[in-house]
Amino acid sequence: MLVEKAVALSAILFVLGTLGALTRRNLIVILMSIELMLNAVNLALVAFSRQWGDLAGHVFVLMVIVVAAAEVAVGLGIVIALFRNRESVNVEDSSLLKW
């Protein structure tokens, strides 16, 4: 069945995203991993709405996409600011609340 496969795929992608977010040290890559996790969620949503014939899932996906866009805009802005001050995008170099 297509939907089960899709769900399984979303699980796999989510795990991969999680690993990326947990193990990589590069802020930009971490952000990308988070995007990947979001996409996995979207896939699950779409699959479920396909299964239940309920459009709420699609609407949710649209919302998630918007949120992702906003998150990337702000996140990358932060990264740029960090890089200006820190000369680095390593997540471990930015462990203070202020400096």
Partner: protein
């Protein structure tokens, strides 16, 4: 036919994700392999009869978000050494364990929740129906999201603009 396409795209998606995850050498390659995932996912959405979502997936994710990533990487002009392979740490092992746990759970939980398949109405997932749903049942959420976008826009501008002292 559809299953075959699904497998192809799923493989592409996973490959792209792995590429992004394992490519510790340069971020741009990672981002580009992520694009592969995005496009593949878009195709899978279409297979799942979520046409609008699929197209928007490609438009927004592949077309805008990842490009934004690339743009930033280039703007910061990160040289190779920024992405030197990282030292193995205890957190890495912990992460793998946790990831595995999460994966198992998802694989157990999600299919269990699926339930019987429903009959889809005509035009399901097309821009007409989704739009109708979006602007009738979910209009409040829609408006709130627009507010969120505005806030994010302002925030990004403030963050990224150079201090003029």
């Amino acid at each position: 036919m559809i299953d075959f396409l699904f497998y192809v795209f799923a493989a592409l998606a996973v490959a792209g994700a792995l590429g992004m995850l394992l490519n510790t050498r340069n971020a741009v390659a990672g981002a580009l392999s992520l694009v592969g995932t995005m496009v593949a996912l878009g195709a899978i959405y279409v297979l799942l009869e979520a046409y609008l979502v699929g197209v928007l997936q490609i438009l927004v994710y592949a077309g805008a978000i990842v490009v934004l990533f690339l743009f930033v990487v280039m703007l910061l002009n990160l040289r190779q050494d920024e992405f030197s392979p990282e030292r193995l740490r205890i957190t890495k092992i912990v992460s793998v364990v946790i990831g595995a746990l999460v994966g198992i759970e998802l694989l157990v939980l999600l299919p269990a929740a699926l339930g019987p398949a429903a009959v889809l109405p005509e035009g399901f997932g097309g821009y007409r129906m989704v739009g109708a749903a979006l602007f009738t049942d979910w209009v409040l959420a829609f408006e709130v999201t627009s507010l969120l976008l505005l806030a994010a826009m302002v925030g990004a501008v403030i963050l990224a603009k150079r201090r003029i002292d």
